[in-house]
């Protein structure tokens, strides 16, 4: 008898609530973005709140709105993250992996200061102070706005006062690009890390550049003339290499008087390669 009671009781409870629920679902139906439902279906549905959202559906909405990374679901783990990524997949798959690159090598020794800045350690703020304490108004101030903006802790200010990108940790999200008040960071396609770059962003005239920085592009056009691929162009007194055209012949490197051009492989890949381009140049690229 006990067993029968148990079955009946449970069955009844289930039935009552089942009916109630399905009725409620019909009567109180509300339209929801179908994508949200799809994402929700891929979630564990534990509503545990570990993601910081109020529940799975809130998290799903946030994922669809792009506010949060699909890997935010902790109980679901990697499996769910993959499933979610597949659900929203298209945008992820198409993007090429990028890596952030800093276009300034005027470190503490190579680029002069105009005055001593005291105050909030923040590039955007310091840069507003009389055009920044660096004599070069284009150069990196090294106060680390980019490092603070990086959610992956992939950027750190090195011993010479320039940011170093940890190329393994960098996801190419581009937050540092927006954070840099001087627009010194660009995200480049990772690919085979090939191509040469002019690591300077100064559009000043050559004379004024050489006054303030020993490694700034002086717009001498020597590299433009020598490049067999015609990959280098002048953009308002700054040489710019198109890495799509560059074939890494390296002819531009020796002709650059201030030594501003480096192969991408020479850019330090993490803070441990402390020395900036010149010393790391011998490292092979992979």
């Amino acid at each position: 008898m006990q067993i029968i009671y148990a079955i009946i009781a449970l069955g009844l409870i289930g039935l009552v609530f089942g009916i109630l629920l399905s009725l409620a679902a019909k009567v109180f139906a509300v339209k929801v973005d179908p994508r949200v439902d799809k994402v929700k279906d891929s979630l564990p549905g534990a509503n545990c709140g570990a993601c910081g959202y109020a529940g799975c559906s809130q998290f799903a909405e946030a994922v669809v709105r792009g506010e949060v990374n699909p890997s935010g679901c902790i109980p679901g783990g990697t499996e769910t993250a993959k499933a979610l990524a597949a659900e929203l997949g298209i945008d992820f798959a198409e993007t090429e992996p990028l890596v952030a690159t800093v276009f300034c090598i005027g470190d503490n020794e190579k680029a002069a200061d105009r005055f001593i800045y005291e105050g909030v350690k923040n590039c955007a703020v310091a840069g507003r102070f009389y055009g920044g304490f660096k004599a070069c108004t284009y150069g990196c101030l090294g106060l680390g706005d980019c490092a603070r903006a990086c959610p992956f802790e992939a950027i750190e200010i090195g011993p010479h006062g320039l940011p170093v990108v940890d190329q393994e940790a960098c996801t190419g999200c581009g937050l540092c690009v927006n954070a840099c008040p001087r627009d010194l960071i660009k995200t480049l396609p990772r690919r085979s890390n090939q191509g040469h770059l002019v690591l300077c962003s100064s559009h000043d005239r050559g004379k004024s550049v050489s006054k303030v920085c020993s490694v700034g592009c002086i717009a001498c056009r020597a590299c433009v003339k020598i490049c067999p691929q015609e990959a280098i162009e002048m953009d308002d007194k700054l040489a710019v290499i198109d890495i799509d055209k560059c074939d890494d012949c390296g002819k531009c490197v020796p002709v650059c008087p201030p030594v501003t051009i480096y192969p991408r492989t020479a850019i330090p890949k993490k803070l441990a390669d402390i020395e900036h381009p010149a010393a790391a140049a011998s490292e092979d690229g992979s």
């Binding site: 564990p44 549905g45 545990c48 570990a50 902790i74 109980p75 679901g76 783990g77 499996e79």
Partner: protein, 208 residues
């Protein structure tokens, strides 16, 4: 790593990479609630392990018969059933432990770890892999409970294998005055917080 052997991966994931307590911070209520003594922590861990393994296996074998819309309630029923069984077993064979764990035994049913594994893993993967996954997660959970309970008991009571005076071993002799804090609720939070910090440090050092 994943290519080597899916079973190894399934097993190790729950223990280290996605340890429910140290990495995912799930199912924290029993972790804090029953770890005043090592025995209790271990018992709770094993009870949870039993439930997660059993529910994983059952759900994995039934996954094709459960309609998607009502899968969550179904999972819950399965889990609740096993929790009830575990509760009865404990009550029958380990009454002291059952008393000590108190309401936390039935509360296994709302442990997010179990439902999480059911939904994220067991409902999609084959039975055997689900079993291995359950074992991994269970070990991971038990490990965390055990470590925390050990720390708390040694610091808070000066013993191991308490609270039963027969089995309890006084570690530092009679004169030792244990730090009562760790036997009490505030100590549970603080000990787990510090332990978590250590775990984070360790994980960072080992780069996992």
């Amino acid at each position: 790593m994943a290519e080597h052997n899916p079973y190894v991966d399934d097993l190790s994931r729950g223990i280290i990479r996605e340890n429910p307590v140290f990495r995912l911070l799930l199912g924290m209520c029993p972790v804090l609630g029953v770890t005043a003594y090592f025995i209790n922590g271990l018992g709770m861990g094993l009870a949870t392990t039993a439930v997660v393994i059993a529910s994983n296996v059952v759900i994995a074998s039934l996954k094709n018969y459960i309609p998607a819309q009502v899968r969550i309630p179904c999972f819950i029923v399965v889990i609740a059933t096993f929790v009830t069984i575990v509760e009865m077993v404990l009550q029958a064979f380990q009454p002291a432990l059952y008393e000590a764990l108190g309401v936390f035994v039935p509360l296994i049913v709302v442990n997010c770890v179990i439902l999480g594994r059911a939904e994220a893993f067991a409902s999609k993967k084959p039975v055997l892999r689900s079993l291995v996954d359950g074992v991994g997660v269970g070990i991971g959970f038990t490990l965390a409970l055990g470590i925390l309970a050990l720390v708390r008991e040694i610091a808070g009571q000066g013993t191991i294998m308490g609270p039963d005076p027969e089995s309890a071993i006084l570690l530092f002799g009679e004169g030792f005055e244990p730090m009562g804090l760790f036997g009490q609720p505030p100590g549970a939070f603080i000990a787990l917080g510090l332990l978590l910090g250590f775990a984070n440090m360790l994980f960072k050092k080992l780069n996992i």
